[in-house]
């Protein structure tokens, strides 16, 4: 980072500022190590890299937002450490599964009814004079806890692979009902919140957990098909919910209106080329919502394809590491919880990237650890705190070489 800054000359100060979250994180790691050093050692450095990038590129885009983001990161790290110590055993969290599930549903429902609509998507919930937050961010982690607990307990009820040599089970109403419920509730999110990203995120989480609980991919695939048809129908019936879909399908139809943001994103990526235009070398004032939605594009412009792919690799490593904690965990609930959190993280990143790259419609969700957004930063650090607790409590450590 410092090398990049030095190469482009002026923004050395940005890099110095960007190193602040790394310093805070280092203090947190030392603090945690003083108590107990036996836990995952990979997730925090990777997330720290993303936070450094976040502060550098927010400073470059909007210095005021960068300061707020820095505060959010410090709060997030603090809460993560607190949660990590608060949970004595991750397995005990399963007790709160229904509380978590109901809270998640309440949050989503409240957003649909009273949410604030920004940029065509209703994602924010506001408690007057107190706080405004992205409810989907909070709901996703609660939902992960609920689904992990539910799937861990009720595997039998959801249907199990038969013991026979060739087992073609007739789909029972019992196993189909939850899936139908999933599809319908996610469609409700799409129509209610005007946001495809949140709908896909929750749907992906549900279907993944259903698959992990039952081990039967066929139902999941059927649900995906049903969901796709449902989305297409909903878009036909309520075209106003899909401003971002229209701008995705044909941005050239209205290049200065709804097509403006996706096209500018393309132009910025093109400007970056392979090695990038240089940190802060070109203005990004043409790029709407650069800090919350488009920070990946700013990185792509400044650091080029090398930078973009570097960021993709960091995200892939965090995802794989989280999944590997999940498959190593000795407890079924801990394993499913880690898998759910990993899925939320990976899927959210893929949805954002796909939107930026015009593979799917652009969504109002945040890029984890990178884009501007206090809720997102805090929640993602809390998720990492849970993963660290899983690794502490349920993942057997390899024997240390003497």
């Amino acid at each position: 980072m410092v090398i990049v800054a030095a190469a482009t000359g002026k923004p050395l100060g940005w890099a110095m500022r960007g190193l602040t979250p790394a310093g805070v994180l280092l203090v947190a790691v030392v603090l945690m190590d003083l108590v107990e050093a036996r836990r995952d050692r990979l997730l925090l450095p990777l997330c720290g890299m993303l936070c450094v990038l976040s502060i550098v590129f927010l400073t470059r885009t909007d210095a005021f937002l960068a300061t707020r983001q820095l505060i959010a990161i410090i709060i997030g790290i603090f809460l993560m450490v607190a949660l990590y110590f608060l949970i004595e055993d991750i397995r005990s969290l399963a007790r709160f599964k229904y509380l978590a599930g109901l809270s998640a549903i309440a949050l989503l429902a409240a957003t649909m009814l009273w949410g604030r609509e920004i940029n065509g998507a209703r994602l924010w919930l506001s408690i007057p004079h107190l706080v405004t937050f992205q409810s989907g961010e909070v709901a996703k982690i609660l939902m992960a806890i609920f689904l992990a607990g539910y799937a861990a307990d009720y595997r039998q009820m959801l249907g199990r692979r038969g013991r026979g040599r060739i087992s073609i089970q007739t789909p029972s109403l019992r196993s189909l009902a939850p899936l139908l419920l999933i599809v319908i509730s996610c469609l409700a999110i799409f129509v209610g919140q005007h946001d495809l990203g949140t709908a896909i995120l929750f749907f992906g989480l549900f279907v993944t957990m259903f698959y992990l609980a039952t081990g039967q991919p066929a139902y999941g695939i059927a649900a995906v098909a049903l969901f796709a048809v449902g989305l297409a129908l909903a878009y036909q019936l309520f075209p106003q919910v899909g401003v971002r879909i229209s701008s995705w399908l044909n941005p050239w139809a209205d290049p200065s209106g709804i097509g403006y943001q996706p096209l500018q994103a393309m132009f910025c990526l093109g400007e970056g080329g392979i090695l990038g235009a240089g940190l802060g070398h070109l203005s990004v004032t043409n790029l709407p919502a650069a800090a919350p939605d488009m920070i990946l594009v700013v990185i792509g412009q400044d650091l080029g394809l090398v930078g973009s792919v570097g960021v993709v690799i960091i995200y892939a490593l965090i995802s794989v590491r989280s999944y590997s904690l999940a498959w190593q965990a000795t407890d079924r609930f801990a394993s499913l919880l880690a898998a759910a959190l990993a899925t939320v993280f990976a899927l959210q990143t893929l949805i954002i990237m796909g939107g930026v790259l015009r593979l799917i419609p652009l969504t109002g969700m945040t890029t984890p650890f990178l884009s501007y957004g206090g809720t997102s930063i805090v929640i993602n650090f809390l998720a990492v705190g849970l993963l660290l607790a899983v690794s502490r409590d349920c993942v057997p450590q390899p024997e240390k070489a003497r």
Binding site: F267, G304, L305, V312, M353, L359
Partner: protein, 464 residues
């Protein structure tokens, strides 16, 4: 537990594939599509950035500055050091002439932008070196002063455009000086903005006889010694064809017919060739093609030569009248095709594009297309054109030091006085330059184009 771990691994694998896809799509936009995105007209940022780039210069092949720059309060402004000499090449603002056609190169954007981004990134455009020969261009401009018409000179060996003048010209620096200047310029009755050399569509008249002779000899329906009978006027395929010589040339060979620009002989020859072969040779010669140049070009026209009136259309086409319209650059190309032994050349204007400071980015040596006619045919036609210079109507193109092959002629103009044409090349044995000249609305009987063609060949050709 084992089964759950297995399934989690499968999900993780799906996620990894997802991230791999994202990396590939980043590559698609940032590598494959980047040049197109940078030059896209909706890309306002890039357009604005282009204003701060120091644009490149344009030079002639022999190093004269054609399009310059100077800096004022508003940024970089174009200068035109040679005044009107190169006006139809430079244009008068960024939306005309080569300033438009070579915009990406002059600004170093789009296809010419450094793919690697910041590394080696300069806010400088690229310089362009044209194929134009400044001496020939200046001479041609001077000779065309006070007339309307065009001059195009090509190097028949490679297609390099050595001179390209359209008259009347204008001073590009003055067009945009005031609104009044601009309006006077665009409303001028002589259309100075029109580049007649590339866009002007003229009836070719008797200079098209070169093409008819070449087609006739190449198909074998006639030889140089084939005898025709010219009685001054005649009914051929239902239309009256008049010969320039009152009372006719009598009996004459094809060679003599070209030297004397005898319409009747060529109308009869065209009948022997037939409409189908005639059209096919027009294609082989690329007679009507728009050349691939970074400037606006015109598309020649010829009757379709099919159906009941094909015969009539054929006779009209053969004498270069009727629906037949050609550009001066196409006629220069016809002369160059004969000069190069039948090889059709691709005219080009940009010799090379260089970084400011000298390193060549791209260079262009034109291209030869398929041969239009056999080499012997081209040599026979060249010989006939030489006779035309030495003892025929094109004697005013003759040079004292070099042997010249040429054909001059008239094209009837339904709207006024006839146009005067001249095509030629020299030296005959190893041609170095081919030229086409048209002067609009000349006084009949006083050929204007021939002497101009001669003086331009004089500048371009050196003989021992």
């Amino acid at each position: 537990m084992n089964e759950l771990s297995q399934n989690i691994r499968r999900i993780a694998l799906v996620a990894v594939w997802g991230f791999l896809l994202m990396a590939l799509v980043f590559g698609y936009w940032q590598m494959v599509r980047a040049p197109a995105l940078r030059a896209h007209p909706y890309n306002q940022q890039a357009q604005q950035r282009a204003n701060s780039i120091k644009p490149g210069l344009i030079y002639t092949g022999d190093g004269e500055l054609v399009l310059g720059i100077e800096k004022d309060n508003e940024g970089w402004q174009r200068t035109y050091p040679a005044g009107p000499i190169y006006c139809h090449l430079t244009g008068y603002n960024e939306n005309t002439g080569l300033q438009k056609g070579l915009r990406e190169a002059l600004l170093g954007i789009g296809a010419y932008q450094n793919r690697w981004g910041a590394v080696g990134h300069t806010e400088q455009g690229l310089d362009v070196v044209l194929t134009i020969d400044s001496k020939a261009q200046r001479r041609a401009t001077k000779l065309m002063e006070g007339r309307r018409g065009a001059v195009v000179a090509l190097d028949p060996r490679n297609g390099a455009i050595l001179a390209m003048v359209s008259a009347p010209g204008y001073d590009p620096a003055r067009v945009m000086e005031s609104q009044m200047n601009y309006e006077m310029f665009t409303n001028h009755p002589a259309s100075p903005e029109l580049n007649r050399a590339l866009q002007g569509l003229y009836p070719p008249g008797t200079v098209l006889q070169i093409f008819v002779a070449a087609a006739g000899l190449d198909t074998g329906v006639a030889t140089e010694q084939t005898v025709f009978n010219c009685s001054g006027t005649g009914q051929i395929a239902g239309i009256t064809v008049n010969c320039s010589k009152l009372g006719g040339h009598g009996r004459l060979t094809l060679s003599r017919a070209l030297a004397d620009s005898c319409n009747i002989a060529f109308a009869e020859l065209a009948q022997l060739i037939g409409p189908e072969q005639f059209g096919s040779y027009a294609k082989k010669f690329h007679l009507l093609d728009k050349p691939d140049l970074p400037l606006p070009t015109g598309q020649g026209k010829i009757a379709d030569l099919i159906g009941d009136d094909a015969e009539t259309e054929l006779i009209e086409a053969a004498i270069g009248q009727g629906a037949t319209l050609v550009t001066p650059v196409a006629m220069a190309r016809l002369a160059a095709t004969i000069a190069s032994g039948g090889q059709v050349i691709q005219p080009y204007l940009v010799d090379r594009i260089t970084r400011q400071g000298g390193k060549t980015v791209t260079d262009n040596r034109g291209g030869r297309l398929r041969a239009a006619i056999r080499q012997e045919t081209a040599q026979q036609v060249a010989g006939m054109m030489q006779v035309s210079v030495e003892e025929g109507s094109a004697s005013n193109v003759a040079l004292s030091v070099c042997r010249v092959a040429a054909q001059t002629g008239w094209a009837q103009n339904p709207e006024g006085k006839p146009h005067s044409w001249a095509l030629g090349f020299a030296p005959v044995d190893a041609p170095q330059a081919a030229v086409a000249v048209i002067v609009e609305n000349t006084v009949p009987g006083r050929p204007a184009a021939g002497p101009i063609a001669r003086q331009i060949l004089e500048v371009l050709v050196s003989c021992q």
